[in-house]
């Protein structure tokens, strides 16, 4: 084994192989920086080049890409508060406040070193674990997987915010959104309302961008200023490294957590950052400042998300079961290279496995190094007035969103969830709780049904189930003790929130809660149309949600001013009363404009119209700047679309006229 390990390293350390790895790492870094684009898009970019490549070089390139996406996605999370990919949503909670306090350098360096440490940890675990992993992975049956989904849901306790009823209601909305589409047990289509788009459910990338990116863009656009005032980066490169060193055990624990969650097939890694964040909040005792810029809130998710990639390689290579969309593409790449995953990956093909592991470790070092070097130029972006940056972000986010099914419907879904996201942010509904519910809904439902089918209720007596059950209970107890709110602040459950003491001022939040109750009622009515197995999950969730709202709405209506359920950023937020604050809906209106134009003339033509109008109208840019920026954005999107060989979503115009690409 040691021989194989060393010879794999020797095979990798040739100029040509390292060059290909660097290529993969570079593409991965660029893709990671762009919000919403992740491993699937990155790997699809490289796929056409695999043809005729040498195995080791090709694997080094692919792994290089996969490994560094959770490193570079930190940039936009920390600098703009917009998650760079679904792996670093939790980084926003503390990374962005740090950046606004002028500590971006500290946050970024801590994030990069944590990413590197997490990635290397993942590789080390893989090295030893890969040989004995089969029986361990096989010990997670449907029953245990169901319990793990519950364990993930238990993080809602810590992320529920000031009002538990509100937090649980948000989680229920997530569970409902996650159950749209085909029911796992019967294949019945739930809550599709006659729309073919909803048959497959709403894709993760749309939910992530709608709830986390759009509200942030809308917020930043209102302020009409650069994101960072004064020195964008601040000093403190070494502070970040020191912070990581002081919290090395937290980093190691989160890396371990990430690795395990990645390694268990079927769980998927999309909430690993939230679980790590929740874990940090639950366990940190000394002076917690979560949500206000606690560096540990950056270290925890960043250590976990890179380690997760290492873990996720295990089921992919040993069983041919991809744990995520990106791993599915990676698996396709392996097959194209003529490598069939299976038990031989730890037998005859162990050298391939080890070269993958070494690539993983090296790529993480490369990625963190390059990111540290690039941090200063990239963070200059935060000194640009945001209204000049906004059209790029809006176009990039729409571009990322329609990767899902490449149709206009993706953009419409993005916009609708964006509206919901903006309102949830305004009224203090915890979006992380919603996201966890959304991601884990299909897993919880599927594995519960399967566990019952395979074992009957006796599945509850399985040792693994009992152990994970106890962990879940502990997590709920710790979580409720250290609850953090929508913005990550650790909150005492006291009724002393800043508030405006009139009933009329509370009407908007009461209205929103009532609307959410309407949504729940809609889900409930829809569920009644289905067979028992198809209805039981959405029915139960919508009833729980309605109960939570039945608790919340009277609290909102009758609670004393300052009651912990009350929250409306339009009454008490930092921006209230300041000069030059735009309308809450301004940013959304622009995004809606782009979507509307797309429906008329197709995405690419819409972009060419949207960009100059936005720059002239909103950013008051001069004609040269407008021309340069429009050409730059149009060119970049064109190259990216060409490299991904995709057609843009088409509009009414394309139904009538036959236009050449990219207007097709």
């Amino acid at each position: 084994m040691v021989d194989t390990l060393l010879s794999a390293l020797a095979a990798l350390l040739t100029f040509q192989h390292l060059l290909y790895m660097l290529l993969g790492v570079s593409v991965g870094l660029v893709i990671g920086v762009i919000p919403g684009l992740g491993g699937i898009a990155g790997l699809s970019l490289l796929m056409p080049f695999l043809y005729g490549m040498d195995e080791i070089a090709a694997l080094a390139m692919l792994i290089g890409l996969v490994a560094v996406i959770p490193t570079s996605d930190t940039f936009s999370s920390v600098l703009m508060g917009i998650p760079g990919s679904s792996a670093s949503q939790a980084t926003v909670l503390d990374g962005f406040p740090l950046a606004r306090q002028g500590q971006a350098a500290r946050a970024l360096s801590a994030a990069f070193i944590s990413s590197m440490a997490g990635g290397i940890f993942g590789a080390v675990v893989l090295t030893g674990f890969v040989v004995i992993a089969r029986p361990i992975i096989l010990s997670f049956a449907s029953a245990e997987l169901f319990m793990l989904a519950l364990f993930g849901l238990s993080m809602v306790a810590v992320l529920a915010g000031r009002s538990l009823a509100k937090g649980l209601a948000a989680c229920c909305i997530g569970l409902i959104i996650g159950s749209i589409g085909g029911a796992p047990a019967t294949g019945e289509f739930r809550m599709i309302f006659g729309s073919e788009y909803l048959y497959d459910g709403i894709p993760l990338v749309i939910v992530g961008l709608g709830f986390f990116a759009i509200p942030e863009i809308a917020d930043l656009l209102r302020k009409n200023s650069a994101i960072a005032s004064g020195n964008a980066l601040g000093s403190g490169w070494f502070d970040g490294l020191r912070d990581w060193w002081h919290n090395i055990w937290l980093s190691a624990r989160c890396a371990g957590l990430g690795c395990i969650i990645g390694a268990i097939p079927g769980l998927g890694g999309s909430v690993v950052d939230w679980i790590a964040y929740g874990h940090a909040v639950q366990t940190v005792k000394k002076d917690p400042q979560f949500g206000k810029g606690d560096i540990r809130g950056v270290i925890a998710p960043e250590s976990a998300n890179n380690a997760m990639q290492g873990g996720a390689l295990l089921p992919t290579m040993l069983f041919g079961i991809p744990g995520s969309g990106a791993m599915a593409v990676f698996l396709g790449g392996m097959v194209l290279l003529g490598i069939q995953p299976g038990p031989s990956m730890v037998g005859a093909d162990l050298n391939i496995t080890y070269s993958v592991i070494w690539s993983l470790a090296l790529a993480n070092v490369m990625g963190a190094g390059i990111c540290l070097a690039l941090a200063i130029p990239i963070s200059k972006l935060t000194q640009i007035p945001f209204q000049r940056l906004a059209p790029f972000m809006i176009v990039l986010i729409c571009f990322a969103a329609f990767q899902a099914t490449r149709s206009l419907a993706d953009l419409v879904a993005l916009l609708s969830l964006g509206v919901l996201g903006v309102l949830m942010k305004r009224f203090g509904w915890p979006r992380p709780a919603l996201l966890i519910g959304y991601v884990l809904a299909p897993q919880a439902e599927t594995y519960f049904y399967q566990a019952l089918q395979f074992n009957g209720w006796s599945f509850l007596g399985r040792p693994g189930v009992i152990v994970i059950g106890l962990m879940t209970v502990a997590s709920v107890v710790f979580g409720l003790r250290n609850r953090v709110d929508e913005h990550g602040h650790v909150v005492p459950n006291e009724d002393d929130a800043p508030d405006v003491p009139t009933f009329k001022a509370h009407l908007p939040q009461i209205g929103f809660a009532v609307a959410m109750a309407g949504l729940m009622a809609l889900a409930l009515i829809d569920s009644l149309e289905h067979d028992f197995l198809g209805k039981i999950f959405p029915l139960s969730v919508s009833i729980i949600g309605l109960v939570m709202l039945a608790v919340l709405i009277p609290q909102l209506a009758r609670g004393k001013p300052g009651h912990h359920a009350h929250f409306d950023a339009e009454l008490t937020g930092d921006h209230v009363g300041q000069a030059g604050i735009g309308n809450l809906w301004g940013g959304l209106a622009w995004i809606a404009g782009l979507v509307g134009l797309t429906a008329l003339v197709g995405f690419y033509a819409a972009l060419l119209i949207f960009f100059p109008i936005f720059l002239i109208q909103r950013a008051k840019a001069g004609p040269i700047a407008v021309a340069v920026m429009t050409a730059g954005a149009a060119g970049f999107i064109l190259v990216l679309a060409w490299a991904l060989s995709l057609n843009f979503p088409s509009g009414v115009l394309q139904d009538v006229l036959d236009l050449p690409w990219p207007f097709r």
Binding site: I40, L43, G52, D200, P265, G325, L336, L337, T405
Partner: protein, 364 residues
């Protein structure tokens, strides 16, 4: 005598005319400087995408004029979205082709309301067969394919991806054999199902050939799995015969005969046979749109034939395609017709059975 000679002469003349027309026409198809879009109605990663990405560079190499061939993923609606798009938009110039899979054929055969495409409009360029083998747990008390009758009174459990997915073939097949199978749905792929088998949650499973050879054969060698039968392949006459990948395993038809003493027949078998063909021998197909000139179709068929001798094809074909040759011409045409045709009463029978027994609703 004289008449015959004249007939022969006429025949030769007609043949010469036909050839004369055919040859220059074939030479006309030239894609130099063009880009061909290969629509794959599935997302990146996964079987169909990998299959297309394997073929695309080879197609580019062997089509006249060496056009660029790009794989365009148009996922959604269980592959109906991208296929509808192709049906509505593609022009008969050979620059847009479609790759379908069993998951595209099944909704069409079942009459899914999302289907707005008609296979019979299209011209087939190539068909890529696949196959697989069924195996069971030794805990059921059997030691080899000859013991299949022992399964008759056992409670079998199968990990299914859904009643309208490719796992409809085993569902119909097991029913035909009279097995008592509990289908547990919600699995993400056959690999996921194999994992459930290895965990002991299910006791009967099948894998496609390459996955079987790589992952199940070691289990068989270790005494943890017992092979039962292969789904079989179609011969030139359209009959189910042994899969050359598994020469020692009986085909589905043989296994049925061992169980019942007679060859399979009747409407239930016909329904099974339609879905089996669409799911295995005609699983992957490449189509050109309605009205595509014959010379373009011929150019594609020739390219798919020529690429088989390419060293790159031979090096990786087994990992991507399994052990089956991609076919063109009359054989592909035959597979195409068999894999996309079902009698209305058989469709009704299957849809009603799925609705009554598994709660499947296909929409309005």
């Amino acid at each position: 005598m004289k008449t015959i000679t004249r007939r022969v002469a006429l025949g030769v003349a007609a043949g010469a005319v036909a050839l004369g027309l055919a040859w220059p026409a074939a030479a006309e198809a030239d894609f130099a400087g063009k880009t061909i879009e290969w629509i794959i109605p599935f997302s990146a990663g996964g079987g169909s995408d990998t299959w297309a990405r394997f073929n695309a560079p080879l197609l580019s190499k062997y089509l006249p004029g060496n056009p660029v061939v790009v794989v365009v993923n148009e996922p959604g609606g269980g592959s109906t979205k991208g296929t509808n798009l192709f049906a509505a938009r593609a022009k008969p110039d050979g620059l847009t082709i479609l790759g379908t899979s069993g998951s595209t054929q099944f909704p069409y055969l079942l009459g899914d309301p999302r289907v707005r495409y008609e296979y019979k409009d299209w011209k087939i360029a190539m068909a890529g067969p696949t196959g697989g083998a069924v195996y069971a747990s030794p805990s059921l008390g059997l030691t080899g394919p000859q013991d299949i009758a022992k399964l008759k009174d056992k409670e079998l459990v199968y990990a299914s991806q859904g009643a309208t997915s490719l796992d409809l073939v085993p569902l119909l097949g097991f029913r035909l054999m009279g097995f008592n199978v509990q289908h547990v749905f919600g699995f993400k792929g056959r690999g996921d199902g194999r994992l459930a088998f290895e965990r002991g949650e299910v006791n009967i499973d099948y894998q496609t050939s390459s996955a079987y050879l790589k992952n199940v054969q070691p289990l068989v060698d270790a005494g943890q799995a017992v092979p039962l039968f292969s789904w079989g392949v179609l011969n030139e006459a359209g009959e189910v015969v042994r899969d050359p990948t598994f020469p020692d395993l009986p085909s589905f038809a043989e296994a049925y005969e061992t169980l019942t003493g007679k060859a399979p027949s009747g409407p239930e078998y016909d329904a099974y046979f339609a879905f089996f063909t669409a799911g295995f021998p005609a699983q992957k197909m490449v189509f050109l749109p309605n009205g595509t000139p014959d010379d373009i179709v011929a150019a594609y068929q020739k390219a798919f034939e020529d690429m088989k001798a390419d060293p790159d094809y031979q090096a990786n074909a087994e990992a991507v395609l399994g052990t089956y040759e991609q076919v063109t011409g009359p054989l592909a045409q035959a597979l195409f017709e068999k894999g996309t045709t079902i009698a209305p009463e058989l469709r009704k029978q299957v849809v009603e059975m799925l609705g009554a027994e598994y709660g499947v609703k296909l929409g309005e």
